[in-house]
């Protein structure tokens, strides 16, 4: 049942935590030593609010944008000069015994928002996977994949199906920094995925998506609120109005949750015709 009152862990096929917990302290120290020039704004500027930055550790030199993962054959990817300065990061990367394509650091600054999007080009169906290792994160970073909050904690390797709609918001006071590896799926990865679990869930109350689910149930019981919401017919205006109405009723969520629910609603309706 969608919009359930209780948080439900994401199915392992959507996101899962791989076994093993490396120590990431030395690698984090290397990252924190990087200079401003080592970071670029994430190339996909239409999908974030300016707070998403990338740094390439392995990339295809053919790519016009070094920080873009690109869609090249695995043989075309090369380590960047930056990686030579980061031996602890290299050690973490080499602990994933797959052929590597793009390897990046992704940073989301406090207040940073990555809007909901899907990356159709990388998933297990195509024989590839994207793995995340949080080097620094926080309880108030909210990483949602297909409506589920993914409980990624520092030092945990996570697989997620990023061909599903996903979004991230950092409401904590510090930057969220992930090491992200795109790799070719092999027997080792499939064995690791078979051993994976759904992680340790966060308390639901802080999750704005959970707050919005509560607000939905509240609205279903109050026709007057339905009328007020129906008065606004433009997507962004509606999302803002819903956020304000939610706040006045004591529910803490943001326009992103409303927009995500709208997209999920459209998908759910259309999915009935997909065989």
């Amino acid at each position: 049942m969608p919009n359930s009152l209780n948080p439900v862990a994401a199915p392992v096929s959507v996101a899962c935590r791989l076994p093993g917990m490396p120590n990431v302290q030395r690698a984090l120290a290397e990252v924190l030593d990087l200079g401003d020039a080592d970071w670029a704004p994430h190339f996909n500027s239409g999908q974030h609010n300016g707070g998403w930055h990338a740094s390439a550790l392995r990339a295809a030199p053919q790519s016009p944008i070094a920080e873009s993962p690109g869609e090249y054959a695995v043989a075309l990817y090369r380590d960047t000069a930056l990686l030579d300065r980061c031996p602890a990061l290299r050690e973490l990367i080499e602990s994933i015994p797959c052929e590597h394509k793009a390897v990046r650091l992704l940073r989301l600054v406090p207040g940073g928002e990555i809007l909901e999007h899907s990356d159709s080009h990388i998933n297990l169906r195509d024989g590839e996977a994207r793995l995340h290792l949080p080097l620094q994160t926080h309880e108030d970073v909210f990483f949602h994949v297909r409506g589920h909050r993914i409980p990624m904690r520092t030092g945990e390797w996570w697989y997620a199906d990023f061909s599903q709609p996903h979004r991230v918001v950092n409401r904590s006071p510090q930057a969220r920094i992930h090491l992200v590896i795109d790799c070719v799926a092999n027997a080792w990865l499939h064995a690791a995925l078979a051993e994976a679990d759904s992680g340790m869930p966060h308390a639901p109350e802080a999750d704005p998506a959970w707050q919005f689910a509560q607000f939905q149930q509240h609205v279903y019981q109050h026709p007057d609120l339905q009328e007020r919401l129906l008065a606004n017919g433009t997507p962004n205006g509606f999302a803002q109005a819903a956020q304000q109405l939610g706040q006045s009723c004591g529910f803490g969520f943001h326009a992103a949750e409303v927009l995500s629910a709208m997209a999920a609603g459209r998908r759910a309706w259309m999915q009935q015709w997909v065989l």
């Binding site: 939905q216 609205v219 129906l230 017919g233 997507p235 509606f238 819903a242 709208m262 609603g265 009935q272």
Partner: protein, 344 residues
């Protein structure tokens, strides 16, 4: 789930979720939703509004049944069967113009229930009747928020292939009046061959039509398959016809029939403003109400080639002629209040 309050909400879909649980998808209905020529178009248009996208109320099927108990609504006052491309959309549009009428025009949610063996395999057949009545009850709530006129009638135009499950409908609503709408076979055939309905693609409904095995249907010329499917519907209407229960309406007499015998058959009393509202729909294209209606029977006949005529003659015309004989008998003896059960 909190207290049951579905005031203003109506079911647009019954489905099985990822875990196989039977669920209902609800829509907060407004007055315009059911004025569209087809149920699906009205729902699709409503879903453009951000509210309906963000507040997709989805509940277990049990909530629909409980809501029918807690707040009983109207049951159908009339069901429209038809052979497609025969003016049946005008019938539903004419009643939809009346503010005290709820009109459902080919709602897939009902069709899926009737074909549950294919569309909802998790629903036991024994639960279909109560579910169908609860579905109508939810749509037929007399009072809608912001809707001043209480609703008093519920008219359902059902898909054309519904003649194949008419017995099932009869068992669920044994006394509800029926109307059978049909038209000159050549005109219907020409319309279908110009723009073929999805159900005339073999296998699209998940069931065999006209007794043609799918393996045969796949290799059959489209025009022949069309003639045989349509012929089966005309034949069904002959077979199912019960004077008093089912009222036969031929395309050429549609306008006078809707505002006269059909309204009376469905228990609708038309005052002068209601007659005007209905009449206003007669000059519009029922499926494209932004366009005027232009009679096209003569054109349709001009467009029919010899093959089409021969197929219509072979598979449909005998049943059409029998319907016409029954209709003339019906005109000579107006329907009594004889709502005998369909099954003898």
């Amino acid at each position: 789930m909190g207290a049951l309050n579905f005031a203003g909400w109506a079911p647009i879909r019954i489905y099985q979720d990822d875990h196989g649980e039977l669920c209902v998808d609800w829509l907060r209905v407004d007055n315009g939703t059911l004025r569209a020529p087809f149920f699906t178009d009205g729902v699709q248009r409503a879903l453009q509004h951000p509210f309906h996208q963000a507040f997709r109320r989805q509940t277990p099927l049990a909530d629909l049944l409980a809501w029918a108990q807690a707040s009983p609504g109207l049951q159908p006052s009339g069901i429209v069967f038809h052979v497609s491309r025969c003016g049946s959309t005008l019938v539903s549009q004419a009643f939809a113009a009346l503010p005290d009428h709820v009109v459902l025009s080919e709602p897939p949610v009902l069709d899926n229930l009737m074909r549950s063996a294919f569309a909802l395999p998790g629903l036991p057949a024994a639960q279909v009747p109560d579910t169908a009545r609860a579905l109508m009850s939810a749509w037929g709530q007399p009072h809608l928020p912001r809707h001043d006129t209480p609703r008093q009638h519920l008219v359902v135009k059902i898909d054309c292939w519904a003649t194949t499950y008419a017995e099932q409908i009869d068992a669920i609503w044994p006394t509800v009046p029926w109307v059978f709408v049909y038209r000159d076979p050549v005109e219907v055939m020409v319309s279908q061959m110009q723009q073929r309905a999805l159900y005339l693609i073999p296998g699209a409904l998940g069931m065999e039509l006209a007794g043609v095995p799918l393996q045969e249907a796949f290799y059959m010329p489209a025009m022949e398959y069309c003639a045989r499917c349509l012929g089966a519907m005309y034949a069904d209407m002959v077979r199912l016809h019960r004077p008093g229960r089912s009222l036969l309406v031929e395309y050429r007499s549609l306008h006078s029939a809707i505002a006269g015998p059909v309204a009376a058959h469905f228990g609708t009393a038309l005052d002068a403003p209601a007659q005007d509202r209905m009449a206003a729909t007669f000059s519009l294209h029922a499926k494209h109400p932004g366009m005027p209606f232009i009679p096209d029977s003569r054109d349709k006949h001009a467009q029919a080639d010899a093959t089409l005529r021969a197929l219509a003659e072979q598979w449909i015309t005998p049943h059409y002629e029998q319907l016409e004989r029954l209709r003339h008998a019906q005109a000579a003896h107006p329907p009594a209040a004889d709502l005998a059960l369909l099954t003898p």
